[in-house]
Amino acid sequence: MSTVVLEAKGLAKRYGDAVAVAGIDLSVNQGEVIGLLGPNGAGKTTTILMLLGLTEASEGSVSILGKDPLRRPLEVKREVGYLPDSVGFYDTMTGRENLAYTAKLAGMSRELAKERIAAALEKVRLSAPADRPVATYSRGMRQRLGIAELLMRDCRIAILDEPTSGLDPQSTQELLDLILDLSRGGMTILLSSHMLDVVQSICSRVALFNKGRIGFFGTIEELAARIGRGSFVIDVEADGIDLGQLAGKTDGVTSVASASHGLWQVEATRDVRSDLAKLVVEAGGRLKNLDLRRARLDEAYNRYFREVANAA
Protein backbone atom coordinates (compact mmCIF):
# COMPACT_ATOMS: atom_id res chain seq x y z
CA MET A 1 0.00 0.00 0.00
CA SER A 2 1.49 3.29 -1.05
CA THR A 3 1.53 6.20 1.34
CA VAL A 4 -1.15 8.86 1.33
CA VAL A 5 0.44 12.26 0.72
CA LEU A 6 -2.66 14.40 0.47
CA GLU A 7 -5.92 13.98 2.25
CA ALA A 8 -8.99 16.19 2.47
CA LYS A 9 -11.95 15.47 4.69
CA GLY A 10 -15.32 17.16 4.41
CA LEU A 11 -13.79 20.21 2.81
CA ALA A 12 -16.35 22.98 2.25
CA LYS A 13 -16.28 26.62 1.28
CA ARG A 14 -19.14 29.06 1.39
CA TYR A 15 -19.19 32.68 0.27
CA GLY A 16 -22.14 34.04 2.20
CA ASP A 17 -25.07 31.96 0.97
CA ALA A 18 -23.31 30.76 -2.15
CA VAL A 19 -21.73 27.34 -1.77
CA ALA A 20 -18.57 26.93 -3.81
CA VAL A 21 -17.49 23.59 -2.39
CA ALA A 22 -19.93 21.46 -0.46
CA GLY A 23 -17.92 18.82 1.32
CA ILE A 24 -15.14 17.02 -0.49
CA ASP A 25 -13.21 13.93 0.49
CA LEU A 26 -10.04 13.23 -1.41
CA SER A 27 -7.12 10.98 -0.78
CA VAL A 28 -4.09 10.90 -3.03
CA ASN A 29 -1.23 8.42 -2.89
CA GLN A 30 2.43 9.09 -3.46
CA GLY A 31 3.36 9.29 -7.16
CA GLU A 32 -0.18 9.38 -8.55
CA VAL A 33 -1.37 11.71 -11.30
CA ILE A 34 -4.90 12.83 -10.49
CA GLY A 35 -7.14 14.62 -12.96
CA LEU A 36 -9.63 17.08 -11.50
CA LEU A 37 -12.49 17.42 -13.96
CA GLY A 38 -15.78 19.20 -14.04
CA PRO A 39 -17.61 22.13 -15.55
CA ASN A 40 -16.57 25.72 -14.82
CA GLY A 41 -17.72 26.80 -11.40
CA ALA A 42 -17.82 23.25 -10.05
CA GLY A 43 -15.34 24.19 -7.33
CA LYS A 44 -12.06 22.87 -8.72
CA THR A 45 -9.99 26.01 -8.28
CA THR A 46 -11.50 26.74 -4.87
CA THR A 47 -10.62 23.20 -3.78
CA ILE A 48 -7.06 23.66 -5.03
CA LEU A 49 -6.70 26.94 -3.13
CA MET A 50 -8.01 25.30 0.04
CA LEU A 51 -5.58 22.39 -0.37
CA LEU A 52 -2.76 24.93 -0.56
CA GLY A 53 -4.05 26.91 2.39
CA LEU A 54 -4.41 30.02 0.22
CA THR A 55 -8.11 30.12 1.04
CA GLU A 56 -9.46 29.20 4.43
CA ALA A 57 -11.99 26.37 4.32
CA SER A 58 -15.37 27.00 5.95
CA GLU A 59 -15.41 23.40 7.12
CA GLY A 60 -13.32 20.29 6.97
CA SER A 61 -9.63 19.64 7.15
CA VAL A 62 -6.69 19.10 4.85
CA SER A 63 -3.55 17.20 5.54
CA ILE A 64 -0.62 17.42 3.15
CA LEU A 65 2.30 15.14 3.98
CA GLY A 66 0.78 14.96 7.44
CA LYS A 67 0.72 18.72 7.92
CA ASP A 68 -2.16 21.16 8.13
CA PRO A 69 -1.66 23.89 5.46
CA LEU A 70 -3.41 26.48 7.62
CA ARG A 71 -1.35 25.82 10.70
CA ARG A 72 2.03 25.17 9.12
CA PRO A 73 1.72 26.97 5.79
CA LEU A 74 5.41 27.56 5.23
CA GLU A 75 6.36 23.90 5.54
CA VAL A 76 3.47 22.82 3.34
CA LYS A 77 4.15 25.43 0.69
CA ARG A 78 7.79 24.38 0.59
CA GLU A 79 6.73 20.86 -0.41
CA VAL A 80 3.88 21.80 -2.71
CA GLY A 81 4.31 23.61 -5.99
CA TYR A 82 1.39 25.43 -7.55
CA LEU A 83 1.05 26.42 -11.17
CA PRO A 84 -1.99 28.71 -11.34
CA ASP A 85 -4.44 28.99 -14.15
CA SER A 86 -2.76 31.25 -16.80
CA VAL A 87 0.32 31.81 -14.70
CA GLY A 88 1.80 35.31 -14.56
CA PHE A 89 5.43 36.37 -14.39
CA TYR A 90 7.05 39.77 -13.98
CA ASP A 91 7.21 40.97 -17.57
CA THR A 92 10.17 43.29 -17.22
CA MET A 93 12.36 40.61 -15.65
CA THR A 94 13.93 37.80 -17.63
CA GLY A 95 12.85 34.20 -17.23
CA ARG A 96 15.98 33.48 -15.23
CA GLU A 97 15.43 36.47 -12.93
CA ASN A 98 11.85 35.41 -12.30
CA LEU A 99 13.03 31.99 -11.19
CA ALA A 100 15.85 33.51 -9.14
CA TYR A 101 13.27 35.57 -7.25
CA THR A 102 11.17 32.55 -6.28
CA ALA A 103 14.34 30.62 -5.43
CA LYS A 104 15.31 33.40 -3.04
CA LEU A 105 11.81 33.41 -1.52
CA ALA A 106 12.16 29.67 -1.01
CA GLY A 107 15.34 30.40 0.91
CA MET A 108 17.78 28.74 -1.50
CA SER A 109 21.41 29.75 -1.49
CA ARG A 110 22.63 31.69 -4.50
CA GLU A 111 24.88 28.91 -5.85
CA LEU A 112 22.28 26.18 -5.42
CA ALA A 113 19.63 28.36 -7.05
CA LYS A 114 21.86 29.16 -10.01
CA GLU A 115 22.62 25.52 -10.59
CA ARG A 116 19.02 24.35 -10.24
CA ILE A 117 17.62 27.16 -12.39
CA ALA A 118 20.02 26.32 -15.20
CA ALA A 119 19.09 22.63 -14.98
CA ALA A 120 15.35 23.37 -14.88
CA LEU A 121 15.51 25.78 -17.82
CA GLU A 122 17.50 23.21 -19.77
CA LYS A 123 14.88 20.58 -19.09
CA VAL A 124 11.97 22.72 -20.32
CA ARG A 125 14.08 23.89 -23.29
CA LEU A 126 14.10 27.55 -22.28
CA SER A 127 17.86 27.93 -21.97
CA ALA A 128 18.14 30.06 -25.08
CA PRO A 129 15.43 32.65 -24.28
CA ALA A 130 16.16 32.55 -20.52
CA ASP A 131 17.81 35.96 -20.56
CA ARG A 132 15.09 37.71 -22.50
CA PRO A 133 12.32 39.58 -20.66
CA VAL A 134 9.25 37.44 -20.03
CA ALA A 135 7.18 40.01 -21.94
CA THR A 136 8.53 38.47 -25.15
CA TYR A 137 7.50 34.91 -24.21
CA SER A 138 4.62 33.08 -25.83
CA ARG A 139 1.92 31.47 -23.74
CA GLY A 140 3.47 28.04 -24.12
CA MET A 141 6.84 29.37 -22.99
CA ARG A 142 5.26 30.93 -19.90
CA GLN A 143 3.63 27.63 -18.97
CA ARG A 144 6.96 25.89 -19.45
CA LEU A 145 8.62 28.51 -17.27
CA GLY A 146 5.99 27.65 -14.65
CA ILE A 147 6.96 23.99 -14.90
CA ALA A 148 10.61 25.01 -14.62
CA GLU A 149 9.75 26.73 -11.35
CA LEU A 150 8.27 23.51 -9.98
CA LEU A 151 11.33 21.57 -11.16
CA MET A 152 13.69 24.08 -9.59
CA ARG A 153 11.89 24.05 -6.26
CA ASP A 154 11.96 20.26 -6.26
CA CYS A 155 8.50 19.91 -4.73
CA ARG A 156 7.00 16.59 -3.76
CA ILE A 157 3.51 17.53 -4.83
CA ALA A 158 2.58 19.72 -7.80
CA ILE A 159 -0.86 21.20 -8.33
CA LEU A 160 -1.47 22.39 -11.86
CA ASP A 161 -4.58 24.44 -12.62
CA GLU A 162 -5.53 24.29 -16.30
CA PRO A 163 -1.94 23.99 -17.48
CA THR A 164 -2.90 23.39 -21.10
CA SER A 165 -5.68 25.94 -21.56
CA GLY A 166 -5.10 28.15 -24.58
CA LEU A 167 -2.10 26.20 -25.86
CA ASP A 168 -1.69 24.99 -29.42
CA PRO A 169 -1.57 21.19 -29.93
CA GLN A 170 2.21 21.08 -30.20
CA SER A 171 2.78 23.09 -27.02
CA THR A 172 0.16 20.96 -25.27
CA GLN A 173 2.06 17.81 -26.21
CA GLU A 174 5.34 19.32 -25.03
CA LEU A 175 3.78 20.32 -21.74
CA LEU A 176 2.29 16.85 -21.27
CA ASP A 177 5.68 15.27 -21.82
CA LEU A 178 7.12 17.57 -19.17
CA ILE A 179 4.34 16.71 -16.73
CA LEU A 180 4.88 12.99 -17.36
CA ASP A 181 8.57 13.60 -16.74
CA LEU A 182 7.76 15.19 -13.39
CA SER A 183 5.57 12.24 -12.52
CA ARG A 184 8.30 9.74 -13.43
CA GLY A 185 10.60 11.68 -11.14
CA GLY A 186 8.32 10.65 -8.27
CA MET A 187 6.26 13.83 -7.99
CA THR A 188 2.61 13.51 -7.07
CA ILE A 189 0.54 15.60 -9.46
CA LEU A 190 -2.95 17.05 -9.28
CA LEU A 191 -4.10 18.49 -12.54
CA SER A 192 -7.29 20.26 -13.43
CA SER A 193 -8.23 20.50 -17.07
CA HIS A 194 -11.08 20.68 -19.53
CA MET A 195 -9.11 18.85 -22.20
CA LEU A 196 -10.28 15.34 -21.52
CA ASP A 197 -7.94 13.57 -23.92
CA VAL A 198 -5.09 15.28 -22.07
CA VAL A 199 -6.32 13.99 -18.76
CA GLN A 200 -6.89 10.51 -20.14
CA SER A 201 -3.39 10.29 -21.55
CA ILE A 202 -1.58 11.05 -18.31
CA CYS A 203 -3.83 10.57 -15.29
CA SER A 204 -4.02 7.43 -13.23
CA ARG A 205 -7.25 8.48 -11.55
CA VAL A 206 -9.83 11.20 -12.13
CA ALA A 207 -12.11 13.14 -9.80
CA LEU A 208 -15.32 14.47 -11.33
CA PHE A 209 -16.49 17.66 -9.68
CA ASN A 210 -20.12 18.57 -9.84
CA LYS A 211 -21.76 21.48 -8.02
CA GLY A 212 -19.12 21.59 -5.31
CA ARG A 213 -18.92 17.85 -4.73
CA ILE A 214 -16.81 15.05 -6.07
CA GLY A 215 -19.32 12.88 -7.90
CA PHE A 216 -16.84 10.22 -8.84
CA PHE A 217 -13.26 9.39 -7.94
CA GLY A 218 -11.42 6.50 -9.55
CA THR A 219 -9.89 5.21 -12.77
CA ILE A 220 -11.43 5.86 -16.16
CA GLU A 221 -12.37 2.17 -16.50
CA GLU A 222 -14.17 2.34 -13.18
CA LEU A 223 -15.99 5.42 -14.40
CA ALA A 224 -17.10 3.62 -17.57
CA ALA A 225 -18.30 0.66 -15.52
CA ARG A 226 -20.02 2.87 -12.99
CA ILE A 227 -22.20 4.67 -15.51
CA GLY A 228 -23.55 1.37 -16.75
CA ARG A 229 -21.55 0.68 -19.84
CA GLY A 230 -18.70 -1.65 -20.55
CA SER A 231 -15.17 -0.53 -20.78
CA PHE A 232 -14.95 -2.07 -24.30
CA VAL A 233 -16.19 -0.01 -27.22
CA ILE A 234 -16.33 -1.57 -30.69
CA ASP A 235 -17.01 0.31 -33.88
CA VAL A 236 -18.67 -1.99 -36.42
CA GLU A 237 -19.00 -1.16 -40.09
CA ALA A 238 -21.16 -3.56 -42.13
CA ASP A 239 -23.66 -3.65 -44.99
CA GLY A 240 -26.91 -5.47 -45.52
CA ILE A 241 -27.88 -6.19 -41.93
CA ASP A 242 -29.35 -4.42 -38.91
CA LEU A 243 -26.84 -4.93 -36.14
CA GLY A 244 -29.07 -3.21 -33.62
CA GLN A 245 -31.49 -6.17 -33.67
CA LEU A 246 -28.84 -8.86 -34.00
CA ALA A 247 -26.31 -7.90 -31.35
CA GLY A 248 -28.68 -6.91 -28.57
CA LYS A 249 -29.00 -10.52 -27.42
CA THR A 250 -25.29 -11.30 -27.39
CA ASP A 251 -23.82 -11.99 -23.96
CA GLY A 252 -21.68 -9.12 -22.68
CA VAL A 253 -23.08 -6.42 -24.95
CA THR A 254 -24.55 -3.55 -22.97
CA SER A 255 -25.70 -1.31 -25.78
CA VAL A 256 -25.71 -0.89 -29.53
CA ALA A 257 -26.06 2.53 -31.02
CA SER A 258 -26.32 3.38 -34.69
CA ALA A 259 -23.87 6.15 -35.43
CA SER A 260 -24.68 6.58 -39.13
CA HIS A 261 -25.83 4.37 -42.00
CA GLY A 262 -23.95 1.10 -41.82
CA LEU A 263 -21.97 2.09 -38.75
CA TRP A 264 -22.65 1.01 -35.18
CA GLN A 265 -21.05 1.56 -31.85
CA VAL A 266 -21.25 -1.46 -29.58
CA GLU A 267 -20.42 -1.25 -25.90
CA ALA A 268 -19.57 -4.39 -24.04
CA THR A 269 -18.08 -5.67 -20.82
CA ARG A 270 -15.71 -8.01 -22.68
CA ASP A 271 -14.11 -8.34 -26.08
CA VAL A 272 -17.06 -9.43 -28.28
CA ARG A 273 -15.42 -8.91 -31.67
CA SER A 274 -15.51 -12.57 -32.69
CA ASP A 275 -19.17 -12.90 -31.69
CA LEU A 276 -20.07 -9.81 -33.65
CA ALA A 277 -18.17 -10.97 -36.72
CA LYS A 278 -19.94 -14.29 -36.58
CA LEU A 279 -23.34 -12.61 -36.21
CA VAL A 280 -22.81 -10.33 -39.16
CA VAL A 281 -21.54 -13.07 -41.44
CA GLU A 282 -24.24 -15.56 -40.45
CA ALA A 283 -26.93 -12.95 -41.12
CA GLY A 284 -25.50 -12.56 -44.62
CA GLY A 285 -24.11 -9.06 -44.12
CA ARG A 286 -20.79 -7.83 -45.41
CA LEU A 287 -18.41 -6.96 -42.59
CA LYS A 288 -16.11 -4.07 -43.44
CA ASN A 289 -14.51 -3.09 -40.18
CA LEU A 290 -14.33 -4.07 -36.51
CA ASP A 291 -12.45 -1.71 -34.29
CA LEU A 292 -11.95 -2.16 -30.56
CA ARG A 293 -10.87 0.76 -28.39
CA ARG A 294 -10.83 1.72 -24.74
CA ALA A 295 -13.65 3.72 -23.26
CA ARG A 296 -12.96 7.36 -24.02
CA LEU A 297 -13.00 9.74 -21.14
CA ASP A 298 -14.90 12.40 -23.03
CA GLU A 299 -17.75 9.98 -23.74
CA ALA A 300 -17.83 8.79 -20.16
CA TYR A 301 -17.64 12.39 -18.94
CA ASN A 302 -20.48 13.59 -21.12
CA ARG A 303 -22.65 10.68 -20.21
CA TYR A 304 -21.91 11.09 -16.53
CA PHE A 305 -22.96 14.72 -16.55
CA ARG A 306 -26.04 13.94 -18.63
CA GLU A 307 -27.08 11.37 -16.05
CA VAL A 308 -26.40 13.76 -13.21
CA ALA A 309 -28.49 16.42 -14.94
CA ASN A 310 -31.32 13.95 -15.55
CA ALA A 311 -31.25 12.79 -11.97
CA ALA A 312 -31.54 16.32 -10.71
Binding site: T46, L74, E75, K77, G88
Partner: protein, 317 residues
Protein backbone atom coordinates in the same frame (compact mmCIF):
# COMPACT_ATOMS: atom_id res chain seq x y z
CA UNK B 1 -5.38 29.30 15.39
CA UNK B 2 -1.67 29.59 15.85
CA UNK B 3 0.41 29.72 12.70
CA UNK B 4 3.92 28.38 12.66
CA UNK B 5 6.90 30.06 11.06
CA UNK B 6 7.99 33.67 10.98
CA UNK B 7 5.80 36.20 9.15
CA UNK B 8 8.94 38.12 8.25
CA UNK B 9 10.42 35.35 6.13
CA UNK B 10 10.98 36.77 2.68
CA UNK B 11 10.37 40.40 3.66
CA UNK B 12 13.90 41.36 2.69
CA UNK B 13 13.70 39.54 -0.62
CA UNK B 14 10.39 41.17 -1.54
CA UNK B 15 11.60 44.60 -0.41
CA UNK B 16 14.83 44.44 -2.40
CA UNK B 17 13.02 43.21 -5.50
CA UNK B 18 10.48 46.01 -5.21
CA UNK B 19 13.22 48.58 -4.68
CA UNK B 20 15.12 47.30 -7.71
CA UNK B 21 11.91 47.43 -9.76
CA UNK B 22 11.25 51.02 -8.71
CA UNK B 23 14.82 52.08 -9.39
CA UNK B 24 14.63 50.86 -12.96
CA UNK B 25 11.06 51.88 -13.74
CA UNK B 26 10.36 54.74 -16.15
CA UNK B 27 7.74 56.04 -13.71
CA UNK B 28 10.34 56.57 -11.00
CA UNK B 29 12.82 58.14 -13.42
CA UNK B 30 10.27 60.68 -14.59
CA UNK B 31 9.16 61.72 -11.15
CA UNK B 32 12.69 61.92 -9.79
CA UNK B 33 13.62 64.12 -12.74
CA UNK B 34 10.77 66.43 -11.76
CA UNK B 35 11.87 66.47 -8.13
CA UNK B 36 15.50 67.03 -9.07
CA UNK B 37 14.71 69.95 -11.35
CA UNK B 38 12.52 71.66 -8.77
CA UNK B 39 15.11 71.02 -6.07
CA UNK B 40 17.85 72.61 -8.13
CA UNK B 41 15.58 75.55 -8.89
CA UNK B 42 14.72 75.95 -5.22
CA UNK B 43 18.28 75.75 -3.96
CA UNK B 44 19.49 78.12 -6.66
CA UNK B 45 16.83 80.64 -5.64
CA UNK B 46 17.68 80.20 -1.97
CA UNK B 47 21.41 80.69 -2.51
CA UNK B 48 20.78 83.82 -4.53
CA UNK B 49 18.52 85.22 -1.88
CA UNK B 50 20.84 84.38 1.01
CA UNK B 51 23.74 86.08 -0.80
CA UNK B 52 21.69 89.20 -1.43
CA UNK B 53 20.05 89.87 1.87
CA UNK B 54 21.16 88.00 4.89
CA UNK B 55 24.91 87.92 4.77
CA UNK B 56 25.09 88.27 8.55
CA UNK B 57 22.16 86.02 9.39
CA UNK B 58 22.63 83.19 11.84
CA UNK B 59 21.80 79.56 10.91
CA UNK B 60 22.58 80.31 7.29
CA UNK B 61 22.99 76.68 6.51
CA UNK B 62 19.46 75.71 7.54
CA UNK B 63 18.10 78.68 5.61
CA UNK B 64 19.17 76.81 2.50
CA UNK B 65 16.15 74.55 2.95
CA UNK B 66 13.60 77.12 3.97
CA UNK B 67 14.38 80.39 2.20
CA UNK B 68 12.51 80.98 -1.02
CA UNK B 69 12.78 83.51 -3.78
CA UNK B 70 9.59 84.46 -5.59
CA UNK B 71 8.12 82.84 -7.58
CA UNK B 72 9.77 79.61 -6.48
CA UNK B 73 8.83 78.08 -3.13
CA UNK B 74 11.50 76.85 -0.74
CA UNK B 75 13.01 73.39 -0.93
CA UNK B 76 11.12 72.24 2.17
CA UNK B 77 7.82 73.49 0.76
CA UNK B 78 8.58 71.72 -2.49
CA UNK B 79 9.16 68.44 -0.71
CA UNK B 80 5.94 68.87 1.26
CA UNK B 81 4.10 69.21 -2.02
CA UNK B 82 5.93 66.77 -4.29
CA UNK B 83 6.91 63.97 -1.92
CA UNK B 84 3.32 62.66 -1.71
CA UNK B 85 3.37 62.44 -5.49
CA UNK B 86 6.52 60.33 -5.40
CA UNK B 87 5.07 58.05 -2.72
CA UNK B 88 1.78 57.64 -4.60
CA UNK B 89 3.66 56.85 -7.81
CA UNK B 90 5.51 54.09 -5.97
CA UNK B 91 2.55 52.60 -4.16
CA UNK B 92 -0.64 52.96 -6.17
CA UNK B 93 -0.37 49.58 -7.93
CA UNK B 94 1.54 47.65 -5.29
CA UNK B 95 -1.12 45.02 -4.62
CA UNK B 96 -3.64 45.31 -7.44
CA UNK B 97 -0.77 45.30 -9.94
CA UNK B 98 0.20 41.81 -8.74
CA UNK B 99 -3.36 40.66 -9.24
CA UNK B 100 -3.54 42.17 -12.71
CA UNK B 101 -0.26 40.58 -13.77
CA UNK B 102 -1.67 37.31 -12.35
CA UNK B 103 1.45 36.88 -10.28
CA UNK B 104 -0.28 37.08 -6.90
CA UNK B 105 -1.38 33.47 -6.61
CA UNK B 106 2.05 32.24 -7.69
CA UNK B 107 3.75 34.61 -5.25
CA UNK B 108 1.55 33.52 -2.36
CA UNK B 109 2.16 29.86 -3.20
CA UNK B 110 5.82 30.40 -2.30
CA UNK B 111 6.81 29.48 1.24
CA UNK B 112 6.18 32.96 2.68
CA UNK B 113 3.28 34.58 4.52
CA UNK B 114 1.10 37.26 3.02
CA UNK B 115 2.48 39.63 5.64
CA UNK B 116 5.86 39.45 3.94
CA UNK B 117 4.40 40.57 0.61
CA UNK B 118 2.67 43.66 1.97
CA UNK B 119 5.41 44.61 4.40
CA UNK B 120 8.10 43.98 1.81
CA UNK B 121 6.35 46.21 -0.69
CA UNK B 122 6.03 49.00 1.86
CA UNK B 123 9.67 48.69 2.93
CA UNK B 124 10.85 48.55 -0.67
CA UNK B 125 9.04 51.78 -1.51
CA UNK B 126 10.28 53.44 1.66
CA UNK B 127 13.84 52.35 0.91
CA UNK B 128 13.72 53.95 -2.53
CA UNK B 129 12.30 57.18 -1.08
CA UNK B 130 14.96 57.17 1.63
CA UNK B 131 17.73 56.79 -0.94
CA UNK B 132 16.29 59.56 -3.09
CA UNK B 133 15.85 61.86 -0.07
CA UNK B 134 19.34 61.26 1.22
CA UNK B 135 20.77 61.98 -2.21
CA UNK B 136 18.79 65.19 -2.48
CA UNK B 137 19.79 66.26 1.02
CA UNK B 138 23.47 65.60 0.39
CA UNK B 139 23.21 67.45 -2.89
CA UNK B 140 21.71 70.45 -1.11
CA UNK B 141 24.43 70.39 1.51
CA UNK B 142 27.08 70.10 -1.18
CA UNK B 143 25.67 72.93 -3.26
CA UNK B 144 25.40 75.08 -0.17
CA UNK B 145 29.03 74.51 0.73
CA UNK B 146 30.10 75.08 -2.85
CA UNK B 147 28.24 78.33 -3.42
CA UNK B 148 28.19 79.82 0.06
CA UNK B 149 31.56 78.49 1.18
CA UNK B 150 29.96 77.64 4.49
CA UNK B 151 30.39 74.32 6.26
CA UNK B 152 27.41 73.21 8.39
CA UNK B 153 27.90 73.09 12.16
CA UNK B 154 27.31 69.94 14.20
CA UNK B 155 23.94 71.24 15.41
CA UNK B 156 22.92 72.01 11.83
CA UNK B 157 23.67 68.44 10.83
CA UNK B 158 21.70 67.03 13.77
CA UNK B 159 18.69 69.21 12.90
CA UNK B 160 19.06 68.31 9.24
CA UNK B 161 19.13 64.58 9.99
CA UNK B 162 16.07 64.77 12.25
CA UNK B 163 14.28 66.73 9.57
CA UNK B 164 15.26 64.06 7.05
CA UNK B 165 13.80 61.37 9.30
CA UNK B 166 10.57 63.36 9.73
CA UNK B 167 10.41 63.81 5.95
CA UNK B 168 10.71 60.05 5.51
CA UNK B 169 7.84 59.52 7.97
CA UNK B 170 5.79 62.05 6.00
CA UNK B 171 6.51 60.17 2.76
CA UNK B 172 5.64 56.94 4.59
CA UNK B 173 2.13 58.25 5.32
CA UNK B 174 1.49 58.78 1.64
CA UNK B 175 3.08 55.50 0.67
CA UNK B 176 0.86 53.68 3.17
CA UNK B 177 -2.15 55.56 1.79
CA UNK B 178 -1.29 54.57 -1.79
CA UNK B 179 -0.75 50.93 -0.79
CA UNK B 180 -4.03 50.90 1.15
CA UNK B 181 -5.85 52.15 -1.94
CA UNK B 182 -4.06 49.58 -4.09
CA UNK B 183 -5.35 46.86 -1.75
CA UNK B 184 -8.93 48.06 -1.59
CA UNK B 185 -9.37 49.06 -5.23
CA UNK B 186 -8.78 46.47 -7.92
CA UNK B 187 -8.03 48.79 -10.84
CA UNK B 188 -4.65 50.57 -10.65
CA UNK B 189 -5.95 53.61 -12.54
CA UNK B 190 -8.82 54.08 -10.08
CA UNK B 191 -6.55 53.58 -7.08
CA UNK B 192 -4.07 56.15 -8.45
CA UNK B 193 -6.89 58.62 -9.00
CA UNK B 194 -8.28 58.03 -5.51
CA UNK B 195 -4.86 58.58 -3.93
CA UNK B 196 -4.27 61.69 -6.02
CA UNK B 197 -7.66 63.11 -5.02
CA UNK B 198 -6.84 62.66 -1.36
CA UNK B 199 -3.49 64.33 -2.00
CA UNK B 200 -5.14 67.28 -3.77
CA UNK B 201 -7.74 67.73 -1.06
CA UNK B 202 -5.25 67.51 1.81
CA UNK B 203 -2.46 69.62 0.31
CA UNK B 204 -4.33 72.21 -1.74
CA UNK B 205 -7.87 72.54 -0.44
CA UNK B 206 -7.44 71.65 3.21
CA UNK B 207 -6.07 75.12 3.95
CA UNK B 208 -9.41 76.56 2.76
CA UNK B 209 -11.62 73.92 4.34
CA UNK B 210 -10.13 74.17 7.84
CA UNK B 211 -11.11 77.84 8.52
CA UNK B 212 -14.57 77.22 7.07
CA UNK B 213 -15.26 74.25 9.30
CA UNK B 214 -13.72 76.02 12.30
CA UNK B 215 -16.04 78.98 11.65
CA UNK B 216 -19.04 76.69 11.81
CA UNK B 217 -17.92 74.72 14.86
CA UNK B 218 -16.65 77.69 16.87
CA UNK B 219 -18.11 80.98 15.61
CA UNK B 220 -16.48 84.18 16.83
CA UNK B 221 -18.47 86.11 19.41
CA UNK B 222 -17.55 89.83 19.07
CA UNK B 223 -18.02 90.34 22.83
CA UNK B 224 -15.86 87.43 23.89
CA UNK B 225 -12.17 87.77 23.04
CA UNK B 226 -11.55 84.16 24.07
CA UNK B 227 -13.81 82.98 21.23
CA UNK B 228 -11.18 84.21 18.76
CA UNK B 229 -8.61 82.00 20.40
CA UNK B 230 -11.10 79.13 20.58
CA UNK B 231 -11.76 79.42 16.88
CA UNK B 232 -8.08 79.55 16.07
CA UNK B 233 -7.44 76.40 18.07
CA UNK B 234 -10.27 74.63 16.31
CA UNK B 235 -8.90 75.69 12.97
CA UNK B 236 -5.46 74.45 13.86
CA UNK B 237 -6.80 71.12 15.09
CA UNK B 238 -8.72 70.57 11.87
CA UNK B 239 -5.79 71.67 9.73
CA UNK B 240 -3.62 69.10 11.49
CA UNK B 241 -5.67 66.27 10.03
CA UNK B 242 -3.66 66.89 6.89
CA UNK B 243 -0.18 65.37 7.10
CA UNK B 244 1.08 68.34 5.16
CA UNK B 245 0.21 70.69 8.03
CA UNK B 246 2.01 68.44 10.48
CA UNK B 247 5.01 68.23 8.21
CA UNK B 248 5.03 72.00 7.72
CA UNK B 249 5.10 72.51 11.50
CA UNK B 250 7.93 70.01 11.92
CA UNK B 251 9.90 71.74 9.18
CA UNK B 252 9.27 75.18 10.64
CA UNK B 253 10.55 74.21 14.07
CA UNK B 254 13.44 71.96 13.12
CA UNK B 255 14.90 74.13 10.41
CA UNK B 256 14.48 77.41 12.28
CA UNK B 257 16.14 77.36 15.72
CA UNK B 258 14.52 80.71 16.55
CA UNK B 259 10.99 79.33 16.23
CA UNK B 260 9.40 78.71 19.62
CA UNK B 261 5.92 77.38 19.13
CA UNK B 262 3.61 75.94 16.55
CA UNK B 263 0.49 77.28 18.28
CA UNK B 264 -0.67 80.70 19.48
CA UNK B 265 1.84 82.51 21.69
CA UNK B 266 0.92 85.21 24.22
CA UNK B 267 2.92 88.24 25.19
CA UNK B 268 3.22 87.11 28.80
CA UNK B 269 4.67 83.80 27.66
CA UNK B 270 7.41 85.71 25.87
CA UNK B 271 8.37 87.71 28.95
CA UNK B 272 12.08 87.52 29.55
CA UNK B 273 12.72 85.69 26.32
CA UNK B 274 15.49 86.93 24.07
CA UNK B 275 13.75 87.41 20.74
CA UNK B 276 15.54 85.54 18.00
CA UNK B 277 17.73 83.54 20.36
CA UNK B 278 17.99 79.93 19.13
CA UNK B 279 16.40 77.03 20.97
CA UNK B 280 18.58 74.02 21.74
CA UNK B 281 18.08 71.33 19.11
CA UNK B 282 16.48 68.94 21.60
CA UNK B 283 13.98 71.60 22.69
CA UNK B 284 12.93 72.22 19.08
CA UNK B 285 12.54 68.49 18.64
CA UNK B 286 10.46 68.25 21.81
CA UNK B 287 8.04 70.88 20.56
CA UNK B 288 7.30 68.98 17.36
CA UNK B 289 7.41 65.54 18.95
CA UNK B 290 3.58 65.26 18.84
CA UNK B 291 3.59 66.14 15.15
CA UNK B 292 6.19 63.49 14.39
CA UNK B 293 4.23 60.93 16.45
CA UNK B 294 1.12 61.95 14.55
CA UNK B 295 2.79 61.30 11.21
CA UNK B 296 4.05 57.90 12.31
CA UNK B 297 0.64 57.03 13.79
CA UNK B 298 -1.10 57.98 10.53
CA UNK B 299 1.36 55.78 8.64
CA UNK B 300 0.69 52.83 10.98
CA UNK B 301 -3.09 53.24 10.83
CA UNK B 302 -3.11 53.29 7.03
CA UNK B 303 -0.75 50.34 6.83
CA UNK B 304 -2.87 48.37 9.30
CA UNK B 305 -5.95 49.07 7.21
CA UNK B 306 -4.19 47.76 4.12
CA UNK B 307 -2.96 44.76 6.11
CA UNK B 308 -6.40 43.80 7.41
CA UNK B 309 -7.99 44.10 3.97
CA UNK B 310 -5.16 42.20 2.29
CA UNK B 311 -5.22 39.32 4.77
CA UNK B 312 -8.90 38.75 4.10
CA UNK B 313 -8.68 39.12 0.35
CA UNK B 314 -9.45 36.15 -1.87
CA UNK B 315 -6.46 35.00 -3.87
CA UNK B 316 -8.30 34.14 -7.03
CA UNK B 317 -8.43 37.09 -9.37
Amino acid sequence: MQREGSPFRGVGTVALKEAADHMTSARMHLIMLLVLLTAIGAVYGAIDRIRDTTAQDAYLFLKLFTVAREPLPSFAAFLGFLLPLVAIALGFDAINGEFNRRTMSRLLAQPIYRDAVLFGKFLGGLLVIAIALLTLWLMMVGLGMLFLGLPPSGADIVRGVFWLAATLAYAGVWLALAIAFSTVIRSPATSALAALSVWLVLTVFWGMIAPLVAGIVAPIDPFDPMSVLNRFEWQQAIARISPQTLYGEVTGLLLDPAARSVGPLFMHQMQGAVIGAPLPTMQSLLIVWPQISGLIAAMLVLFTLAYVVFQRQEVRA
